[in-house]
Amino acid sequence: MQYTLTELIQKNDFIDWVLHPSAESNAYWQGYAAGSPEKKRVVASARGYVQLLAADTGRHKPTPEQSEQMWQVVQHNMTREDRPIPITSPGKESQSTQPFFIRKSWQLAASIVVLLAFSTAAYRYFYSQSDFTVSESATTPQPKMAARRNNTQKPMTVLLPDGSSVVLLPGGQLDYLSQNLPGNRAVMLSGKAFFEIVKDKNRPFYVFTDGLATKVLGTSFLLDAPANADEVKVEVRTGRVLVFKANRDQDFRSENVAEGQTTVLIPNQKSAFSRSNGQQIKSLVLNSHLKEVEPDALFDQSFAFDDTPVAEVFDALQRSYNIPIHYDRALLKDCTLNATLVGEPFAKKLSVICAALGTEYKISNDEVFVSGKACQ
């Protein structure tokens, strides 16, 4: 009895043997292959095919961010569903209700903002009065708003729910959603901040700065948008950044963003834009000491480590992000690191470092706790 190549590849017990060999199946197929050089050749070939087919059709894996995002949506739906269960046509119902509800209340929110006036003060006032929208759709948990203002003299890092990090310089304020929901990612900035955004091709990240918007898919850049000036400065570190004029009353949580004419900025390019007309005022590609935006520790920090002791690595991170990192100095004293972490958000940098060290970390109340074992 002799199998052809295609017969073997489609034979159940052969596939089982290739994917999950056991002593018994090894004995069987090796015995078969020993029958003749031709059989041996065909078995080897068929085995190669099965392995490649299995490996190659399993290449699509969600990123950890995608997994997290999917789970968050499912969880969100779980809490929402704790009420009597409609039995009718289950498939269709859950698909559109949630985004619909949220969009509806957001549009409502947007129109109220328009009524109140366009100033930031009015905007804030609205949020202190937000009970209204909550009761409007009591069964739908509202995306929670969060705002951070840096009243200190040092940089302050805001960790966004999608894993991106924003280093807010003194005097800056960032408004964002405290939950990672599907759809666009967006924040509102007043002042100066350095952004390191997690890549997500399908979910653009917008920064609204009162009249001007910046759009990226995943990159790092510095934005300087002082509250009372017409000029907004953008400086790109990695990746590309798109800038366009936005409506002053744009609700940053809305899915509808009207993008006018956009300007594309490339790495090391810095530009100034006018809020009033969205035009680029000046632009230059950095190569020398021409610095209009004063250097910031983080922005200039390369995060390239070459056999660097871990203590120095953590020190550099603590200094740049101003986030305390707790770890066992004695335990990790012999550990060194080789890595280049330019443009990655804080959490990503940490996870790369910890993966390299074989340690774990957790972030709690904006402090990092590293646990783990000594290096060999």
């Binding site: 190669g48 490649l52 190659d56 290449r59 699509h60 894996k61 739906n77 091709k201 898919l217 590309r240």
Partner: protein, 200 residues
């Protein structure tokens, strides 16, 4: 760990009784391979993610009405995902480019599959070439191969998931193999003895 891993049957029982932990474990166990399968049905990863969310959300929402007559959670999940993706494909007009930037503007962003292909390339040239060839195959052939060789469903279950006869499944795979052999007779001989079992 002291506790033996829960069987699918136990997880299903747990979900039917409203046990959130069992539900979480089920999501952890299957969402990755479901995503992989979904990507064979649609190139739109957002649509795939949405469909996976819906499949799981529905299970939780309908947990108290789920049947205990289930042969395999995995089978149930795959079949639900397939239906879900096909319904949304027919409903959603193909305007996915609307909100995303044209890729030509953003050459620095490589999409996931590209990155993975590159990673593979350094491991085995063969795999890369096979990957390129697989992309030339009709979708249903790739789908059948995925279900049979990666997800390791039997030919019978593969057929039930795809809603065709077992004979058709064998036919899809046979045709794919003929195509692959015609086009890459060369890829295997070198690799035969070099290739260890590929991890997956």
């Amino acid at each position: 760990m002291l506790r033996a891993e829960e069987t699918d049957q136990m997880l299903w029982e747990g979900i039917r009784n409203g046990d959130e932990r069992a539900f979480t474990r089920t999501f952890d166990r299957y969402h990755t391979t479901l995503y992989n399968y979904g990507c064979k049905l649609s190139a739109d990863t957002t649509l795939v993610e949405d469909a996976i969310q819906d499949v799981f959300s529905d299970i939780w929402r309908l947990r108290f009405t789920l049947t205990n007559q289930i042969s395999s959670i995995k089978f149930y999940l795959y079949r639900s995902l397939r239906r879900r993706i096909h319904t949304s494909q027919s409903r959603r007009p193909r305007t996915d480019a609307l909100s995303s930037l044209p890729d030509s503007h953003l050459p620095f962003i490589s999409n996931n599959s590209e990155a993975i292909i590159i990673e593979f390339e350094s491991k085995t040239m063969q795999s890369r070439r096979l990957g390129a060839l697989l992309e030339c195959l009709p979708h249903r052939q790739v789908e059948a191969i995925t279900l049979r060789y990666f997800d390791e469903f039997s030919f019978a279950d593969t057929a039930r998931i795809m809603g065709v006869s077992e004979k058709s499944v064998r036919n899809f795979i046979y045709k794919a193999l003929v195509f692959l052999r015609q086009n890459q007779e060369r890829i295997l001989p070198v690799s035969l003895f070099v290739l260890p079992f590929l991890p997956f």
